[in-house]
Amino acid sequence: MADINDIANESIRKEIEEFVERPEEKGEMIAVMARARPSMQDIGAAIIQGHHETVDKLTEAALAEGIDALEIMDDGLINGMGIVGIKFRDNFIFVPEVLACARAMKAGMKHIEPILSASGIEPVGRVIMGTVKGDLHDIGKNLCIMMLRGAGFEVFDLGVDTSADKFIDAVEEHGANVIGMSALLTTTMPNMGRTIEAFIDADLRDDVQFMVGGAPVTPEFADDMGADAYGETAVECVEVAKRLSVKK
């Protein structure tokens, strides 16, 4: 049976001692972390801290050393996110920290992506995401992006206050065929429809599928504005994006 002192990384030891309270989870975390080589523990620790630059460098170095990509995923990225999930569930950290950790995970995955391509593994789909013009609320969109990337999508994040032109430029630049638009305000919600109209005017409507979501958005509104799909939650967003990706 592994002991906490079998874990080389001090930061991981502290994280487990301080934040993993359930005995069965603590035992499991100690076991998986102790099994991981020190460089993987370092990646896990950087994930937990949300240090994307550190994850970036450590993952690149690990691959250069010849460490297997799946080992990096298992023992570094996923193990780290495992502790993040426990800390979030038990209210030690909150959504902004989780998003920073997800960003760190993406920084690691960036180095694994070429290996996936070389192995014939393509992204599940390519999605462009943005909060519509006039709207600065991005948590819902960011959680959707976290889910989509976790599910194997390539996501291009246009951020907040995204004009129709920016969506059009992004489609032309990245060749994505699914666009996700989010809005939190009733006042900005109509900009979803205006964006779709801009795609019609640019003769690009048939090239893309639109999925929409956000607190005030309803399936009926989505339908009225001419969107292809509506997603109520970030979890649902993945299924919707999968369905739309297959369409084109």
Partner: protein
């Protein structure tokens, strides 16, 4: 360049998806009582204005959220205009 077995990779994707689904469920529940833009240091990470936001004591730090989470935080959000407030990434 090394390669990976697609089936093995898919297992990892499934594991990550399950992990993230739980986080999303928790985020949804938590958003009923706590503003999702508020970090663990009770700082505001939103790019828009909010009546609960107060300037930070230190230069360059994130603004402070003064909400006590007992009331719905959403009416405090400033809904007009689209001029982003400068915030640092957490």
């Amino acid at each position: 360049m090394q390669t990976v077995d697609p089936a093995q990779f898919q297992k990892r994707i499934d594991r990550i998806t399950r992990m993230f689904e739980k986080m999303i469920e928790h985020a949804d529940e938590q958003s009923l009582v706590r503003c999702p833009y508020k970090n663990r240091f009770d700082q505001c990470t939103a790019q828009f204005g909010c009546r609960y936001r107060r300037p930070a004591n230190q230069a360059g730090a994130l603004p402070i959220c003064t909400s006590d989470d007992k009331l719905d935080y959403r009416p405090a959000w400033e809904m007009d205009g689209a001029t982003p407030v400068q915030v640092q990434k957490p």
